[in-house]
């Protein structure tokens, strides 16, 4: 009971100032780090993209929009952009559809639910480099397990990673494999918000399981679908390690994603200005994509 009156609640200026100091101290470490290693570099990348620099030379000429001109008149960039977009579309929607099916199948009190959930989720937490190393072997044209299994049923499998028609698809399969568990968890959580009585009412009205999936579940799940589409694109646009380990961009440039192009220019050729213009380009494309998706679905409020 001491000092209760002198403190008189929490509105005295001294007390208020103390709170401000506490807030400052608590926020300081995170703000400092995010400021120096997140916010500042985002702007610095934009600035750097107007210069030509190798990272150590004292002479840093301003080149205006020259880097962007080179970028946008460059076949390599358009190839990488296309490869990245194809990869992102295949992985985002492939994992989304399979994840939905698994979630719908699991959305019941069935035996082994936890075990299934864990098994589907294991690839999500597996390091990307290790995943790439393993799948590279599974895809091996002659010794790999996939073609071995296909040969049991008399199918001559393609050369996967070595075949320019299949390489990108093969890498995408690994991307899908790594993302199904994530989609499943998000859909499961969303399905749990739907009352089971709703399905039962539909069944009494004669709806089939497929009708229920199409007319009740999918529309009700659209906020989750929007979330998975946006995060899917953002994550897949980041792809680097998987390709670096599995194909290093090849055969020729069939899997040469934007991340690889940026890494090559920035950290092998030391064209930091040019690499920055690629970074800014990727960032811009992602912003536009998110915005278009958000507009397209009216921020998910349509449902």
């Amino acid at each position: 009971m001491r000092n209760l009156t002198s403190k008189s609640g929490s509105l005295t200026p001294a007390f208020f100032r103390k709170e401000q100091t506490a807030a400052f101290l608590l926020l300081f470490p995170s703000i400092l780090i995010l400021g120096v290693f997140n916010i500042y570099p985002a702007f610095y990348s934009i600035v750097l993209s107007f210069f030509e620099w190798n990272g150590f030379s004292p002479d840093i000429p301003f080149v205006g929009i020259e880097n962007y001109k080179t970028l946008f008149t460059n076949g390599v960039f358009y190839n990488s952009l296309l490869v990245t977009i194809i990869y992102s579309v295949v992985v985002t929607f492939g994992s989304l559809i399979i994840g939905l099916l698994v979630a719908v199948a699991l959305d019941r009190d069935i035996k082994g639910k936890t075990l299934y959930r864990i098994l589907y989720f294991l690839p999500v937490v597996t390091p990307t480099v290790a995943s790439g190393v393993v799948w590279k072997y599974l895809f091996d044209p002659t010794q790999g397990i996939i073609n071995t299994m296909l040969s049991y049923i008399n199918i001559q499998g393609p050369a996967w990673l070595n075949d320019s028609a299949w390489a990108l698809f093969s890498v995408s399969i690994v991307g899908i494999w790594k993302r199904i568990g994530f989609c499943m968890i998000i859909y499961l959580a969303a399905l749990q918000g739907v009352s089971a009585n709703l399905y039962e009412a539909a069944r009494i009205d004669g709806a089939t399981e497929f009708n229920i999936l199409k007319s009740i579940k999918i529309p009700l799940l659209s906020p989750a679908t929007l979330f998975l589409t946006i995060t899917g694109f953002i994550d897949s646009f980041r792809i680097f390690d998987l390709v670096y380990v599995m194909t290093n961009g090849g055969p020729v440039d069939e899997t040469d994603v934007l991340g690889l192009m940026l890494y090559r220019n920035g950290f092998e050729y030391f064209k930091l200005g040019y690499a920055s213009s690629i970074a800014v380009g990727i960032f811009g494309i992602l912003l536009i994509l998110s915005f278009v998706q958000w507009k397209f679905t009216q921020g998910g409020e349509a449902y």
Binding site: A22, I39, I230, F267
Partner: protein
């Protein structure tokens, strides 16, 4: 009330399990192959069994450790991960508490700016950060591996949501005793936040342990390589010796899987929660 939910027919239940088990089998097929291969004597690589181990040739693991300094790589990865987990968790708990419990000027604006930084792609910051780390003399040190990743907006968000959900009354007694906000945080709020600490720590650990691009850019010497880098180099050099490579791969995967299995309940809840709010 009459229970409306009818029991599923047997055929339907079987279909469900068949679909789920086939999917689950494909999902873990790479792991089965990997473990089986890592335990095979070298000359039997291409012969059956492919998916279920019948040999237990532990020597592969020993040989992999001798062929490359995997002990050193693992140690580096553990130091880096521990540093990132500790700093991210502590700093994010601080910031999350400040956003949830202290009224200060521009609090909302600041929070939205931070959320906005989540939109900044990894690539947009990697080159300037490389230059910053170099300028600070941190190239090829643990400082470069840990400090730039010592903060996490995602973790701040998790902690803020948690502290907002705590009833304010819990803190009132301490307030009457004249405790400052920082003492309340350490003595009351932090001990209560164990579930978020576990979730956040696990996310941080997986991020750190699995990370590749940043360690690739800021380290150079073999003494500073993390396990993922080591594995990628090892693959280039010993790519044909699959029994060794697969043993090394198992070692690089194991900590992630173990961490996930220990905390999987929290982890899945944490992910599901962000999705619903997203």
């Amino acid at each position: 009330m009459v229970r409306l939910i009818r029991k599923e027919s047997i055929t339907r239940r079987i279909t469900r399990h068949v679909f789920l088990s086939v999917g689950a089998f494909i999902s873990i097929l790479p792991f089965l192959w990997l473990i089986t291969t890592s335990l095979k004597p070298p000359n039997t690589l291409y012969s059956a069994p492919l998916l279920f181990p019948t040999h237990f040739h532990i020597e592969n693991y020993i040989e992999a450790f001798q062929a490359a300094p995997f002990a050193r790589y693992s140690l580096n990865s553990f130091i880096m991960s521990a540093g990132i987990v500790l700093t991210q968790t502590l700093f994010s708990a601080f910031a999350g508490y400040a956003f949830a419990r202290i009224k200060f000027k521009f609090s909302n604006l600041l929070f939205f700016i931070l959320l906005g930084t989540m939109m900044i792609s990894n690539y947009a910051i990697v080159i300037p950060n490389f230059l910053t780390v170099n300028a600070l003399g941190w190239y090829d040190t643990f400082a470069a591996l840990i400090i730039p990743r010592a903060a996490s907006v995602f973790a701040i968000f998790l902690f803020r949501q948690f502290f907002l959900s705590l009833p304010k009354e819990i803190e009132d007694a301490a307030k009457i005793d004249g405790c400052g906000k920082i003492r309340i945080f350490f003595q009351i709020a932090l001990p209560l936040s164990k579930p978020v600490i576990v979730t956040s720590a696990l996310f941080s650990f997986l991020f750190a342990w699995n990370d590749f691009l940043w360690p690739l850019i800021v380290t150079d010497s073999p003494q500073m390589r993390t396990i993922q880098l080591g594995l990628s180099v090892f693959q280039g050099r010993y790519g044909v010796r699959w029994t060794l490579l697969s043993a090394a791969t198992v070692l690089s995967i194991l900590p992630s899987i173990v961490a996930f299995l220990i905390a999987q309940k929290y982890f899945i809840k944490g992910i599901a929660g962000t999705g619903l709010k997203g």
